[in-house]
Each structure stands twice: as C-alpha cells, then as structure tokens.
C-alpha cells in the first residue's frame, strides 16, 4: 500500500514558479486584490503586499497568536492561512476595528487597563478578543483565560488583558465584528 507520507520532491529542487494568481477579497471593508504565489501566507499578503503591518509575525508557526485576524468574523491565524485560499473572504485586521476615528471598545479598554508593555502581541490579542466576544461562549474569567490561551504575551500582561476584555464584554462590545 503506497502512502502519502513519502510524497515529496527532492530537497533543494525548485519547482518552476507558477504564474502568480490574483486573489480578490475584502480587507477592512474595502475590495482588494493580491497577486500571490500559492505559498504566500495571508500574513505576508497583508503585511508585504497591502502594507497592513499592524498584524504581527511572531513565531510564524501558529504557536503565538500574534498574527490573529478575523476571516468572516472568525478569529484565525494568518501565518497558517494561504492567501490563495482566501478568495472572496472578508478579512478584518487591527487596522479595521476603529470606526469613524473612534477606537473599538476593546482597543480603548486595552489602553484604559494598560494591557501591554511592548505591544507586539497586542493586535493579535485584540483581534482574538473580538473573535471571542463574537463567539459568545465566555461566561466567566476562567472561560476568558481559557479562550484567550492561543495568544501569548511574553511581557506577561495577562492580568490587565483579562481585565480589559471583561470590561469590554460587560459593555457589550461587538462593533467591527463581521467585517
């Protein structure tokens, strides 16, 4: 029985680069196109092709959560998402949360609670918290801790992050969710 485990091409042998594919999607409410290779991640598409550098590249292996964005309102890891697979998607990044010059309630709560030191994980933390509130499964502080566990903060601002999310939840924050 042949199996897929052995399927691979020899190390170092480059496959001829296919022509780039144009992907049409919406980012923060605006129609955008990306001309990308199959292996371009959504993270690189956002940062390099669209100059939306708010989304951060932390580990680039799906372990830290810094690259969290919302696709069709659901939080996902843009470092493990191929841009070519996001045709027609509605992507929301940290740049798309403020509306009409007014910060998203979670952004304001992070400021009010000083929920960061270096700030590198913050865009991912906030996008993840928007997703958490959209999902509507958090009922307690324990729930929030568990459901935010995909976002690592090396400065250790977790106590303040929890307080910021609790406050935003208690105020019924939802703005900017679906887009």
């Amino acid at each position: 029985m042949a199996q897929r485990a052995a399927a691979r091409h020899p190390r170092g042998e480059k496959i001829a680069a296919p022509a780039k594919t144009t992907v049409a999607l919406r980012v923060n409410g605006a129609a955008r196109t990306l001309d990308v290779a199959p292996w371009t991640t959504l993270l690189d598409g956002l940062r390099v092709h669209l100059d939306l550098t708010g989304t951060k590249k932390g580990c680039d292996h799906g372990q830290c959560g810094a690259c969290t964005v919302l696709i069709d309102g659901r939080r996902v890891l843009s470092c493990l998402t191929l841009a070519i697979m996001t045709e027609g998607a509605e992507v929301t990044t940290i740049e798309g949360l403020a509306q009409d010059g007014k910060l998203h309630p979670l952004q304001q709560a992070f400021i009010d609670h000083d929920a960061f030191q270096c700030g590198y994980c913050t865009p991912g933390q906030i996008c993840s918290a928007v997703g958490l509130i959209n999902e509507g499964n958090a009922r307690s502080a324990d729930d929030i801790r568990e459901l935010m566990s995909g976002n690592i903060c090396r400065c250790g601002a977790y106590t303040a992050i929890l307080a910021a999310i609790e406050e935003a939840m208690s105020k019924g924050a939802r703005a900017g969710d679906g887009r």
Binding site: Q3, R4, A7, R8, H9, K14, H61, L82, S149, G150
Partner: protein, 338 residues
C-alpha cells in the same frame, strides 16, 4: 517555504482523480499542521489540492440513530454543535481540550485525524528520524523523550499521536468514511491509525488515493458517565503528557459497559479490551479502577525522560474513571482536577 503548485477540487471524485494522478500532491483544508510542516521542510508536496469547497461541512443524523460528521466540519463548529454538546459531550470536551480557539476555527475533522506527531526530532530536519526519513534512525530513543510513547512503541519510533479529538472518537467507536479510486470504505476507528512497527512513516491505513469524507458516530454517546481528563505541562494550549477519555454505563453501582482510551502515550489512541473487560460487571469503585489501570499499563515501558508517564497514566486513569462514574466530568475551563 518550499514552492508548490495549487489546484482546487470541484467535487469528491475530482479530488480523488487529482490526488491519484500526482503522487507528490496533498490535500489541504484547515492547513494548521500541513502548512507548518511545509514551512519546516518536513513536508515537501509538489502540489496542494484545496478541498475546502467540497460539500463535506455538515453534521447530519445517520440511519442508525447516530451522527455523520462531514470531514470539513471545523473543530470549533463541532465542539459547540448542539447535538454534539447534548449527545456526545465527551467529544465536545476533547475538542475543547485541544489547540487554541484560532486553530479550532481553522482545523477540520478529517485533518485532525491526519495530524502528524509533534516529536521534536520529526520536526528537526537536521536529526535522524525514521518517520520523516525512513531508515535514518530514531533520535528520540536515546534523546529527549519526555513527551514520547510508553505503549506500543517500536525500536524504530517512539512518537505519539497528538490529537485529543481522536482519543474521544476511539472511545465512541467512530468509523472513518473514505472515497478512493476503488470506491468507498468505512474503517473502524481502531483500524484507522496504526502502530509504528518497522514502518513508522505510515501513520494511518488511509490509501494514497483516498480522501476522508466523514466520521460516523454510533447512537450511544455515553452522555451520562464520561470524562476527558488531559494532563499537560501548561494548563491550556499544550499537547497531552497523558490524556484519558472514559465512558461508562453504570447500573446500581455496577459497571455494565466500560470504554477507556489514552492519548499522549502511543502512536495511536490507546484502547485495551482486556482492561475494559476487567471493569465490566465490576463495582464502580477506586479498587476496580486501579485494577483496570494496572492491566492497561501491564506492558508500559519508559525510555528515560518519560518514565514518569507510567505512574501519571495510572493515576489519571483512576481519576478519570472516578469522574466518569460520579457524573462529574472534567471542566475544560475551570482547570481544577477534582
């Protein structure tokens, strides 16, 4: 990343045709494991076949009173599905014990079955690994093997299967439905994953030209007496050192049916029919549970750093069976183990 081509499958037959025509091609759906393996240089597919547009994303009643879960149902959608929460809370609990919310929003049912081990040496392309490069040797045998197998390992590989969901599916006697060039198959869960033996590069019995289309659950979800207890280095977002899925039927203090599977201890979710038989018709007491654990672990063997897992597994089994018998399943939010 290494370069690769990309194509979309228009339907299941097209997906099978495309993967059968190119032995370097791989299916991609959630991508949470495969994209990472490509970045690491561990997987080097020539082409990815995107199956996310196939109509395999529904949870439906099956003819025998169970549920049929489409291969593309996302882990989070499955965990919070009303029918899963009500009838198969063990599966919901195991799903919520795994990965992070972002990963669960991406990862699919079929992809979870095909997760590859997180053995450090499998990921480290500068070291020998029989699973990654057959015949090169096993670095974990005499290396850092804290996370590794205590049951069913071989001299060629001591890696463990990383999934939580699969441990619950093993207990529930799920079946894996596939379609290939030669038609459809329904594979018993116990026969889907394999032990390493002398072919550790093979994780499963899925054929190269087959696609997983669904997972079927039998009618009995053991919703009254179950638990999923996961012991790990961090309280959340970490792979299991040992996990235990337990499901019991109890009448008047006597166990009438016992199901038990362990995660984090073997190359596949570990079930032991002799241990389950020992518990059947026995009183639901700590003494019975300890005897069950002793039988299940009778051939357990450590490799140095992971010796502690044998005692840990014994205690986790007793605790899980106690939780299941009492009808007080482990919470995946409040982490206190009671």
């Amino acid at each position: 990343m290494n370069n690769f081509g990309y194509a979309r499958a228009s339907d299941v037959a097209d997906a099978v045709r495309q993967v059968a025509a190119d032995d370097g091609a791989r299916f991609v759906a959630g991508g949470t494991n495969l994209i990472d393996l490509i970045k690491e240089g561990v997987a080097r597919p020539s082409r990815l076949i995107d199956i996310t547009h196939l109509p395999l994303d529904r949870v439906e009643e099956s003819a025998d009173g169970g549920l049929r879960i489409g291969a593309l149902v996302r882990n989070s959608d499955l965990a919070w599905h009303p029918q899963i929460e009500a009838r198969y809370p063990l599966l919901a609990s195991a799903l919520l014990a795994g990965a992070s919310p972002q990963l669960r929003n991406m990862a699919t049912t079929g992809g979870n079955l095909l997760q590859r081990t997180r053995c450090f040496y499998f990921y480290d392309t500068t070291t020998p690994c029989n699973k990654r490069e057959p015949g090169s040797g096993c670095s974990a045998l005499d290396g850092v093997n804290r996370m590794h197998a205590i049951l069913g390992a071989s001299e060629h590989c001591i890696a463990v299967h990383p999934s939580d969901m699969c441990v619950a599916l093993a207990v529930l006697d799920a079946r894996v439905l596939t379609t290939g060039s030669n038609g459809e198959r329904s594979i018993a869960f116990a026969d889907f994953h394999r032990l390493p033996g002398d072919r550790p590069e093979l994780d499963t019995t899925l054929r190269a030209d087959e696609i997983i289309t669904a997972v079927e659950l039998p009618a009995n979800g053991f919703a009254a007496n179950y638990t999923y207890l996961k012991v790990r280095d961090r309280l959340s977002y970490a792979f299991a050192l040992v996990s235990v899925a337990a499901a019991l039927e109890i009448e008047g203090g006597t166990v009438t049916e016992a199901r038990l599977a362990l995660g984090g201890v073997a190359h596949k979710p570990w079930r032991d029919r002799a241990a389950e038989a020992e518990l059947t018709d026995a009183p639901a007491t700590p003494e019975s549970f300890a005897r069950t654990a002793d039988i299940l672990l009778r051939e357990a063997r450590g490799f140095g750093h992971n010796d502690f897992k044998i005692a840990l597994a014994r205690r986790a089994i007793v605790r899980a069976l106690t939780q299941a018998a009492a009808g007080t399943p482990q919470s995946q939010s409040d982490k206190r183990i009671r």
